[in-house]
């Protein structure tokens, strides 16, 4: 037991989780923004934008996240020498956020589209009847209801995003939790199972409340029909 507790003096476990939370936070905001724009593209009347939205979703959701993050680190950073900050670690961190955002935006787009499908046709017809064109109709009538209908799937995307932030280790963000867990096990192989359970429980504590909250919110906020 003392052995186990001494681990926390040597290794800063909360700081590693904090890196994952920060990665998830920024990636969630960007993914929501990009995903909403993509969803608008896909439901817009303009064929070239529809095509772009569909192609984006199909390419990104069928590519392993590991490859996307490897692209960011090996491709953008090492070969193309694109750096997003003057500091090396900050640059790697931001590249990981870009990769996570681009990947999850495809799933956000699909979640919002499933939300749009919960909006009855009559709503759109009514919007047209009072003279709203595509963007005002989408902004004022369709999307507000679609977001309410999309809360549960969006919650699932957020949960996946938090768990996937561990893959940033592939993009050399070594300070996050899966990287720290690897280091800790390598140095203290006598405590493999307690170390794993510590990190696993950390994610259970992060993820399960979000699931419960979004399920509750999706019931509470769903438009009664």
């Amino acid at each position: 037991m003392e052995n186990y507790l001494s681990l926390f003096e040597t290794y800063n476990v909360p700081a590693a989780f904090w890196v994952n939370i920060q990665l998830s936070f920024w990636a969630a905001i960007w993914a929501l923004a990009i995903g909403t724009v993509l969803a608008l593209f896909r439901i817009s009347p303009i064929p070239s934008l529809q095509l772009f939205g569909a192609a984006y979703v199909n390419v990104f959701r069928n590519t392993p996240l590991t490859i996307i993050l490897a692209f960011g680190f090996l491709g953008l950073f090492s070969v193309m020498q694109i750096s997003l900050a003057s500091d090396l670690n900050a640059s790697l961190f931001r590249i990981a956020i870009v990769g996570l955002s681009l990947y999850h935006a495809a799933f956000v787009c699909e979640a919002i589209r499933s939300g749009v499908n919960t909006v009855p046709l009559g709503q759109a017809e009514a919007a047209r009847a009072i003279g709203l064109s595509f963007l005002p109709a989408a902004r004022l009538i369709i999307l507000p209801q679609a977001f309410r209908g999309a809360i549960a799937p969006l919650g699932n995307v957020l949960i996946a995003l938090i768990k996937n932030s561990t893959v940033a280790a592939a993009g050399s963000v070594a300070t996050e939790s899966s990287g720290l867990m690897k280091t800790m096990i390598e140095f203290r192989s006598d405590l493999v199972i307690p170390i794993f359970l510590t990190f696993a429980l950390g994610f259970v504590i992060l993820v399960i409340p979000i699931g419960l909250l979004t399920t509750w919110a999706s019931r509470k906020l769903a438009v009664a029909r």
Partner: protein, 292 residues
């Protein structure tokens, strides 16, 4: 219902003109972005013939891409079988009428679904490697399979459960009326129907397994990404190699996703007349691959 019908009706002459202009502007912007990416790649010499000719040589395929693909398919194939088995056992466990079994299965499934796959993979890799119970060379493959099985198996267990809950009422009563016990009715009547109804979602989960097998890259399992990276480092063409690896994954997964969508349309006849599934349930968008 296609989304287009929702937001606008058939456009008149003015609407058609606006759409045409929007279409051209949109296409120009998309092409502009593509051109910018291509020129950036070309600017760093990534589009020269020398970067791409290795993919025309047979030794590239023979020694790098095909062995990698084979290992990816091996890990994914075994994991698909084992996670379906795991899912069946724990899905039926969650439906059991014995409270302790239901409770244990529930806790196991909820726990495994909340833990990142990569965390499990690294744990099994290091634990197996140091314990000496398996050949160290086999540790990465076994770790990949174990982690994928535990995570995807518990997702499949949930599919089985929600599939059984989505069945029309009276199936169990009918089974019991012809003299089956509750468990027999579950095994012989309810679960097989649930699996067929959930087939599209199940195939989407196979896409997830295939995608996540690329996490093996991080624990040194020699799968497609690992081999293509080695190729890229050797030939000095990292970006083209990653493109090829991504393209192979996209092709296989796109084929699987298309199959899932086709099946869900086909199977919707079998589920017609049923009450719609609860909001946000897995059944709602069964054919969409999940984020992890």
């Amino acid at each position: 219902m296609s989304a287009q019908q929702v937001l606008f009706d058939a456009p008149g002459p003015r609407g058609r003109r606006t759409i045409l202009i929007g279409n051209i502007v949109g296409a120009l912007i998309v092409l502009g972005i593509l051109a910018w990416v291509i020129s950036a790649l070309a600017g760093k010499g990534q589009l020269t013939a020398g970067m791409w000719t290795p993919f025309l040589e047979s030794r590239t395929w023979q020694f790098f891409i095909l062995p990698g693909l084979l290992n990816t398919l091996k890990a994914a194939g075994i994991s698909i079988v084992t996670s379906v088995l795991f899912g069946l056992v724990f899905g039926v466990g969650r439906l059991s009428h014995s409270v302790p079994i239901r409770w244990i299965a529930g806790v196991v499934v909820e726990f495994l679904r909340a833990v990142p796959v990569l965390l499990m993979m690294i744990f099994f890799w290091l634990a197996l490697g140091s314990s000496g119970s398996v050949n160290p060379q086999d540790a990465p493959l076994i770790a990949v399979i174990l982690a994928l099985t535990l995570y995807n198996g518990s997702v499949i267990a949930e599919l089985v459960r929600s599939g059984v809950h989505g069945l029309p009422k009276g199936q169990r009563e009918a089974g019991m009326a012809i003299g089956l016990t509750r468990n027999q009715s579950l095994r012989n009547i309810e679960v097989p129907q649930a699996l067929i109804a959930m087939l599209p979602a199940l195939i989407s989960q196979f896409v997830v397994i295939l995608k996540d097998s690329a996490l093996g890259f991080i624990i040194t399992y020699p799968e497609l990404l690992q081999f293509t990276r080695r190729l890229g480092v050797g030939e000095g063409n990292v970006i083209p190699s990653l493109f090829v690896a991504a393209a192979i994954f996209i092709l296989i997964n796109f084929a699987l996703s298309t199959l899932a969508t086709r099946l869900s349309v086909l199977l919707s006849f079998r589920t017609k007349g049923r009450k719609p599934a609860a909001k946000g349930s897995i059944a709602l968008d069964a054919s969409t691959p999940a984020p992890t």
